[in-house]
């Protein structure tokens, strides 16, 4: 079986064995039902053990899983009438970010999101979901349009990071991201951001300032990739696993750090095992968020957004620490 992550190998092997036994018992006279049900019990137990005890590194692997649903997979399932719109009007169309208009439960919305490819060919076209400045500028253009026509914005985050390239620097990667952060802060429509895979640093941040920030259970959000952190901190990118453990990058870590509004659970084995089910869970979160945010006036919305960001961080005063030490 392809795309099996190392930590879930025992589960997959057992599942295959059960399937094999079922096939045998179907083909022959031998009654294996007792053995099968025993193994099925064991499988359930094993699944609980394995998937309830995922390490941060396991989740990193899951967030990067080749079969993990992408922005377009969710758009297809969450919205109707999706019409993709292209181009930043300055330079080109960056396919590492997709966006457009659609209906959510019959009401107009604007959708943006990072888009990885499903295969090598598509990945090259979409630059592995790593945007250039024009991607951020396209997203901003669509979000400004959303504001003009009073549509809420749903943003899906799934990128290793903004592309570190020569052309990206020449065209102002920093400015493009910075501008989005500031402009999104001031948009007078609700913005709901959902991290569905990797939330890689500034490149992820560039479309994720809003009123609500959720993460799928097995997604990550970090200041730097575990490999990058390991290279910087210990001069050895092979220590990525260790970095993943210490950098606090999982959905539950971010919930604890009070950076996100909630974790959207995944089925055992990850979102790709049940895309429909996952989309349904995301739908519930968008629905309840919109219900809440639609109650607010424009000024209340902006005030709450400011308060949300104002409190993020961890500081203390010199005086307080001195006291506790003495």
């Amino acid at each position: 079986m392809k795309n099996v992550l190392p930590f879930e190998k025992p589960v997959v092997e057992l599942r295959e064995k059960i399937a094999e036994l079922k096939k045998i018992s179907g083909d022959s006279e031998v009654d294996l039902s007792e053995e099968i049900s025993r193994l099925e019990n064991r499988l359930e137990q094993l699944e609980n053990e394995v998937y309830e005890n995922m390490t941060p590194w396991d989740r990193v692997q899951m967030a990067r899983h080749a079969e993990r649903p992408t922005t377009l997979d969710y758009i297809e399932r969450l919205f109707t009438d999706f019409l993709e719109l292209h181009g930043d009007r300055y330079y080109s169309d960056d396919e590492a970010i997709v966006g457009g208009i659609a209906k959510f439960e019959g009401k107009p919305v604007t959708v943006v999101g990072h888009q990885r490819g499903k295969d090598t060919k598509e990945n090259i076209r979409r630059n592995f979901g790593m945007p250039h400045p024009e991607g951020y500028r396209k997203a901003l253009r669509l979000m400004n349009q959303a504001e003009k026509f009073n549509r809420p914005i749903i943003s899906f985050i799934d990128t290793k990071g903004a592309y570190p390239g020569k052309a990206a620097e020449e065209r102002g990667q920093s400015e493009a991201i910075a501008k989005n952060l500031m402009e999104m802060a001031g948009l007078t429509v609700p913005i709901i951001c959902i991290v569905i895979g990797e939330g890689g640093s500034g490149g992820a941040l560039g479309i994720s300032v809003g009123d609500k920030l959720y993460m799928l259970e097995n997604s990550t959000y970090s200041v730097i990739s575990p490999e990058g952190a390991a290279a910087l901190l210990w001069k050895d990118s092979n220590l990525a696993r260790k970095a993943a453990e210490s950098m606090k990058i999982t959905s539950y870590d971010l919930q604890e750090l009070e950076v996100i509004d909630g974790v959207i659970e995944e089925v055992h084995g990850g979102a790709h095992r049940d895309i429909e089910g996952q989309a349904a869970k995301i739908k519930e979160v968008i629905k309840s968020s919109l219900e809440e945010l639609n109650q607010l006036s424009e000024s209340e919305l902006l005030e709450k957004r400011w308060q949300k960001y104002q409190q993020i961080g961890s500081t203390t005063s010199v005086l307080k620490r001195e006291e506790s030490e003495e």
Binding site: G165, K166, E169, L181, G202, V209, S317
Partner: protein, 286 residues
């Protein structure tokens, strides 16, 4: 009573003359890292730490920057008591921060406050690259956010001098979120009509470059300052080609339309005065 505890233990002091003296390179002479010429420290200081031979802009501490810019006796510092927590429980992190506190005499990598420039009152935040490479963690984000907010409340302009390697690793995603936090504060400030001048100095990279540094109503930079999003080495590894020597310098950005001006340090005060003057009536110099 709290003040007593504070002053007894010198190691946390934020504005300590002693700590500052320690940071001045030993001896009377300084060698220019660019042209290798050797100068009297005093001579260099008189020239605003610009090499008289090759024009290299030496690193300025936050205090030196403020002293060279603000009218004497007008600077009032804010939030000197804030210090880093260790949210990720990173080994040795607090020790490193404390070491830099002793080295620089600052509580964190940015000094904030208000004062006058040729009679024009302004809020100011100056980053200091000697403190954890000027990296932005929770305290830097919080101090800058508070400075922006105070400027908004007191209807002052704000000038931010950046010098930063980017987001601080040891505070993980909380450092990343300071990019959003400062940007949200700037949006509020901008909406209220506030004037923000961003002044980039060497180096301004990563998360700081991709947030407030790029968001000025005016974006200035010092000559030759390194400014960019991704690190040079990472880009070279990604695109597998050598980058030009001037890549990601202030001049490179200027040529690509990303800066209003590259401003020589000798023109710093007069340039800022002009901008403040045009946006504000009632300064002493008017």
């Amino acid at each position: 009573m709290l003040r007593d505890i504070f002053s007894k233990k010198r190691k946390y002091a934020t504005i300590s003359k002693q700590a500052e003296r320690e940071d001045v390179p030993e001896g009377l002479m300084v060698k220019c890292p660019s042209c290798r010429k050797i100068y009297y420290r005093k001579e260099l200081e008189k020239n605003k730490l610009v090499c008289p031979n090759c024009d290299h802009h030496h690193t300025m501490s936050a205090k030196e920057r403020i002293d060279s810019l603000m009218d004497e006796g007008t600077f009032e510092e804010w939030d000197v008591q804030l210090t880093s927590d260790n949210p990720l429980e990173f080994p040795d992190y607090i020790e490193k921060v404390e070491k830099d506190q002793r080295k620089t005499g600052m509580n964190e990598a940015v000094m904030t406050g208000k004062g006058n420039i040729n009679g024009f009152e302004t809020a100011i935040a100056v980053m200091d690259s000697r403190f954890r490479m000027g990296s932005m963690g929770s305290v830097v984000g919080e101090k800058i956010t508070r400075a922006i907010e105070t400027a908004r409340e007191e209807q002052l302009p704000i000038i931010i001098f950046t010098a930063s390697g980017g987001a601080r690793m040891q505070e993980g995603v909380l450092s990343l979120m300071q990019m959003s936090k400062t940007s949200v504060a700037l949006e509020r400030f901008s909406r209220s009509g506030g004037l923000f001048i961003s002044y980039m100095t060497h180096p301004t990279t990563g998360g700081v470059s991709a947030s407030f540094a790029s968001l000025g109503d005016f974006n200035f930079a010092e000559p030759k300052a390194l400014i960019g999003f991704a690190g040079r080495r990472i880009i070279e590894q990604t695109i597998r080609e050598k980058l030009p020597d001037d890549f990601q310098t202030a001049e490179f950005l200027y040529n690509h339309g990303q800066l209003d001006r590259v401003v020589h340090r000798h023109e710093m005060k007069s340039t800022l005065t002009t901008v403040l003057d045009i946006h504000q009536s009632g300064g002493d110099a008017s």
